[in-house]
């Protein structure tokens, strides 16, 4: 399902592309996937790549300006927190940028937006979780309430609800911007497990390792495994207790490549989507699951693709919260 080959563009020089990420590029999560997505395209497109990592949520304008000064053809500002500042620099320095989840900022030739329909992947994860739970309690632990995470929370809830509206849904936020708080992740997850959860949907960069650890260490109420459903990256390499059930993978190379193609064809400045269809979003299932579960997921996936199932796209925290209250009373 990968994107088409490089369009013929004689004389075009290889592009210089930079990606700016808020945390460490080795977090096996949002930051790493954002960087890896670009690296995957490096050889194919003969790219010159620069990674600006650990930028936090402070003032990233100096970095953007430095990249512009160095003549980068495209700067990917890979954090929703960068979505309003980056276009300002694009205008100021006349440099192409890509932002996350701010379609309003799109400007032909200058600013692109990309976002994943992660809620759809999360919906499938919700279906899977509802089918796998034995206790009828499913937990969700998140390291912050930001648009991406909120969307996935909503998708996950709807997936759960579609299978079993009576399911007990637990929702915990670790702390303010606690993306890296592994211990906080562990504590929250342990509490959910103690409250009966046997499937945990965890969102949170470095904190995910703590969530995963809690699933490894604890038994569910019935004495069986606690399943962990991850997001964005693939942690099968460290899954020694075999509890990693699935992950809502985000493949950023898909949208990055669309942008590159558009740069070559002078159509940059669009709204790019990672979808189930183009492989930008997928639910990778790592374990053998019962055929009923598999069937339910397949049915849901088809339903989403053919539009029979509508997955809500809610990014705002307040809205997400009130929706949660309505869905699971």
């Amino acid at each position: 399902t990968k994107a088409p080959a490089i369009p013929p563009h004689p004389g075009a020089r290889p592009l210089k592309v930079a990606v700016v990420v808020p945390a460490s590029s080795t977090d096996q999560g949002w930051n790493q996937m954002g960087v890896d997505g670009l690296r995957e395209l490096k050889d194919k497109w003969h790219l010159t790549i620069e990674v600006a990592e650990n930028q936090g949520y402070g003032d990233i304008k100096p970095v953007l300006r430095d990249l512009a000064r160095k003549g980068f053809d495209l700067i990917i500002a890979h954090a929703s927190g960068y979505q309003t500042v980056t276009p300002e620099v694009a205008v100021e320095r006349d440099v192409r940028v890509a932002v996350v989840e701010n379609p309003a900022a799109v400007r032909p030739g200058l600013v692109s937006n990309y976002e994943g329909e992660a809620q759809k992947g999360a919906y499938l994860a919700g279906v899977l979780a509802a089918k796998m739970t034995r206790t009828n309690v499913v937990g969700c632990v998140t390291s912050a309430e930001v648009p991406d995470w909120n969307r996935m929370t909503v998708g996950f809830m709807e997936g759960l609800h579609s299978i079993n509206p009576k399911i007990n849904f637990l929702y915990n936020v670790i702390g303010e911007a606690s993306y890296e708080d592994a211990i906080g992740g562990k504590r929250n997850t342990e509490a959910q497990i103690a409250a009966g959860a046997d499937v945990i949907f965890g969102m949170g960069d470095g904190a995910s390792f703590g969530i995963m650890k809690a699933c490894e260490e604890n038994r569910a109420k019935d004495g069986g495994k606690v399943w962990f459903i991850d997001v964005i990256g693939d942690k099968t390499g460290i899954d020694r207790k075999q509890i990693l059930l699935a992950s809502v993978l985000w493949n950023f190379d898909v949208v990055y490549e669309m942008m590159l193609i558009d740069i070559y064809s002078d159509r940059f400045g669009d709204d790019y989507r990672q979808t189930l269809e183009n492989g930008g979003i997928e639910l990778a299932v790592y374990k053998e699951i019962p055929s009923v579960a598999r069937a339910a997921m397949k049915q849901a996936e088809e339903g989403i693709k053919n539009g029979r199932i509508k997955v809500s796209n809610i990014a705002d925290t307040r809205e997400m919260r009130s929706y949660m209250r309505r869905l699971f009373k």
Binding site: N168, L170, E176, A195, G196
Partner: protein, 309 residues
């Protein structure tokens, strides 16, 4: 939802509280001595972090928890003595040195971790287990109290010992005197510098152990800046305890229980913006200070380097 109000849930909340407060108790005991001796070590966080990192590396290589713990302590001691050298011998401003040491630890652990492992994410094979105390760990609701890591029990035992040392021994008397009036201690034959170095050495051991507990007992891996401010919390706990080790347990436990509440309340579905829930531990500390810690006096020589002439 009723099923949530079950014994295991509260037990885990409680047990988690105790586990979470362990590194804080350890670091706070160390800081208690250091501050009683007149030094403020804002580098405590860094000591814990370096302890966590070193313990992790050692345990990863040897797959032995004790070697890991000892290495963590050793790292804490090295940083403690370095800090001591800076503030006791060179008499560098303690705030500057403390923040410097803390920043150094954050930077160097992240740097080395990146250099050593790149994008790998190493995990230590299981080398620690909880130790259930026979009989006690069978009591309902208390089961999780007595099913903890060995280090947690040790931290509890250390509290009365620390109290005894601080108030009932020559060393403790020297520490308190040095923190209050180093000139007086000096003329009465107490070696001010040695006493202060010893407190930092002691703190290094405990903070390193606390950090090691985080990386190789509570978790089994290292993440960047994984201490997440626990060193500063420990400093707050010491002041809340008014420098009395006996108070440390309550302070650390208070923090722990409020943190547990932050997730417990979320699970119980308390319907307020979670920001207000997350404020709870800090509001509780201020409230408690208002009740318990009026007219707190600092050790008089707090933050002052000692110079004889």
């Amino acid at each position: 939802m009723n099923s949530i109000f079950s014994e295991p849930f509260f037990t885990v909340l409680f047990g988690g509280t105790l586990t979470a407060s362990t590194p804080i108790i350890l670091a706070a005991i160390g800081e208690d001595f250091v501050e009683s001796g007149g030094i403020l070590n804002l580098g405590l966080e860094g000591m814990m972090l370096l302890g966590a990192f070193t313990a992790f590396i050692a345990a990863l290589i040897t797959e032995n928890v004790y070697i890991g713990l000892l290495s963590g302590m050793a790292a804490g001691v090295v940083l403690g003595l370095l800090f001591g050298y800076l503030v006791i011998y060179l008499k560098i401003n303690q705030i500057v040195a403390g923040l410097g040491i803390g920043l150094f630890a954050i930077g160097i652990t992240s740097l080395l971790f990146r250099i050593l492992f790149g994008a790998e994410f190493p995990v230590i094979p299981d080398i620690t287990d909880k130790t259930a105390i026979p009989l006690l760990s069978k009591i309902p609701y208390a089961s999780s109290i007595f099913n903890q890591h060995l280090i947690t029990y040790i931290s509890w035992i250390l509290l009365p010992i620390a109290w005894w040392v601080l108030y009932k021994t020559s060393f403790g008397l020297n520490v308190r005197a040095v923190g209050e009036n180093p000139a007086a201690a000096d003329v009465h034959g107490v070696n001010v510098y040695r006493t202060r170095y010893l407190t930092l050495l002691f703190e290094g051991v405990l903070a390193g152990l606390g950090g090691a507990f985080l990386s190789i007992c509570d978790l089994s891996f290292f993440v960047f800046h994984m201490t997440q401010g626990r060193g500063f919390i420990a400093i707050a706990v010491v002041m809340l305890a008014k420098w009395n080790p006996a108070g440390i347990f309550y302070g650390a436990f208070l923090f722990g229980i409020c943190h547990s509440l932050t997730y417990g309340l979320q699970i119980l579905g308390l319907d307020v913006p979670r920001e207000f829930i997350l404020m709870l531990p800090y509001v509780a500390v201020i409230a408690l200070l208002c009740i318990l810690a009026r007219n707190t006096r600092f050790p008089a020589a707090f933050c002052n380097p000692y110079e004889r002439e």
